[in-house]
Symmetry: C2
Subunit: 190 residues, 2 copies
DNA sequence: TATAACGGACTGAACGTTCACTCCGCAGCG
DNA sequence: CGCTGCGGAGTGAACGTTCAGTCCGTTATA
C-alpha cells in the first residue's frame, strides 16, 4: 500500500487546512501540520516553497470548490428569483457541510493574504455572480445598487450565521436557511 | 508639561489599537507598540499584566463606545421602524468614523479571544438589542425569527460593507448607507 | 533655603521560548 | 552503487516577558 507522490501533498494540505481552520495561521506551527499529515517537517518543503505557498494552494482549492457550486446550481433557463434562492441555499449548505474549508476561508480573508488576493483577482473571481445580478437588474427585479452592496446584502447575513453556527452559537437547520435566503431576497429586490 | 499617570496607559492602548487594526495581533510585537506609544517596552507591563490583558482592555473600551451609540440613538417613543433605521445608520457611521476601533473588533471576534468572550457575555451585551427586536416582533412588524438570525440579517451586510470600505473596495457614502439599512429593514420585516 | 535620602515610574538589554525553514544522513529501488 | 524521496534534529531570527538599574519629583534634615 504505497503512497502516490501526490498523496503526501494532499495529506499536508488537508492537515494544514483543518488545523488553520481551528487555530488560525499563527496558531499552527509547521511541526504540527507535519504531525497530523504523518510526514516529516522537511517533507512540507519538498512540495511547497514556504508556508505562504501552502496557504495559497489551500485557498485556491477551496475557492474552486465554492465556485463550482455556483456553476453547478445556476440555470440560465430559470427565473432570477429561483436561481437566487437555489444558489444561496446551496452555498450555505456547502459552508455547513465543509466547515474546515469555510473557516479556513474566513481566516484567509481576514488577513493580509486575503486582502491582497481580493485586490488582485476580484474582477475575475466574481464575474459570474456579477453577471447574475446584472441580469436581475435589467429585468427590474433586483435593486439598482452597486454590485458590492448586493454582495453584502446576500452574503453578509449568511456568512454571519454560518460563523455563529460553526462556533456553536446557533443551530442553522434547513428551514432557517430557507428563511434567511428568502429574507435576503427581500433585501435585494425592489 | 508632565504626563499624567494615565496618559501613558492611554497612549499604549491607542498605539496598540492602531497597530493591531492594521497588522493583527500576531503582526504587532510589543516592541512596536512601545515605539509608537513613545514609552519603553517595560512600561507596558507596569499597566498591563501581559499582552492579553492589554487586548482585553482595548476591547472593553471599544465595546463601550459602540454600546453607547445604541443607547444614545434608541428612543422608546418612536416607532420600531424609525428606531431601526436610526440605530443602524448611526452604528454604521460610527464604524466608518472609528476605523481603528472597528478593525480591532473585527480582529478580536475572529480570534480565540473573541469566541470565548462572546460565549461568556453574549447574554449580557446584546440585551438591549434583544429587547428592541422582541418589541418589534410583538407589534407583528418584525419576523418571528430567532434573535441571532435577526442580528445576522441586520449586521451582516453592514459589517461586510464596512470591511470592504476600510479595505478600499467600496466608497460607502451616506446615501448608500441609507439604502443598505432600508434593505436590511425589508429583510427583517414581514 | 540648601542638601541629602528616598521611592517608584520608567527603561531596554537580556532571557528563554517558539517558530519557519534548512541540511544532511537514511532507506528503498533499479 | 547512484539516485530519489524523505525525516527530524538543528539553526537563526523574532517574539513576549523580566529585572537590574536610571532618573526625577518629593520629603526629611539641618
Amino acid at each position: 500500500m504505497e503512497m502516490q507522490q501526490t498523496d503526501k501533498r494532499t495529506a499536508i494540505m488537508q492537515a494544514a487546512m483543518e488545523l488553520i481552520a481551528e487555530q488560525g495561521f499563527h496558531g499552527t506551527p509547521t511541526s504540527q501540520i507535519a504531525g497530523r499529515a504523518g510526514v516529516g517537517v522537511g517533507t512540507i518543503y519538498r512540495y511547497f516553497k514556504d508556508k505562504d505557498e501552502l496557504i495559497e494552494a489551500i485557498h485556491s482549492q477551496a475557492h474552486e470548490l465554492f465556485a463550482a457550486t455556483f456553476t453547478d446550481t445556476y440555470d440560465p433557463h430559470r427565473p432570477v428569483r429561483e436561481n437566487y434562492l437555489a444558489i444561496f441555499s446551496a452555498l450555505t449548505r456547502l459552508f455547513l457541510a465543509r466547515p474546515c474549508e469555510t473557516r479556513f476561508m474566513e481566516q484567509y480573508y481576514n488577513s493580509p493574504y486575503g486582502i491582497a488576493k481580493k485586490r488582485a483577482e476580484e474582477v475575475e473571481c466574481d464575474k459570474p455572480l456579477f453577471a447574475f445580478f446584472e441580469q436581475g437588474q435589467q429585468q427590474q427585479v433586483i435593486k439598482a445598487l452597486p454590485f458590492e452592496v448586493l454582495m453584502a446584502l446576500s452574503f453578509g447575513p449568511l456568512l454571519f450565521l454560518v460563523r455563529d453556527h460553526l462556533n456553536g452559537f446557533v443551530e442553522l437547520d434547513e428551514p432557517t436557511i430557507a428563511a434567511v435566503v428568502a429574507s435576503t431576497w427581500a433585501a435585494v429586490t425592489r
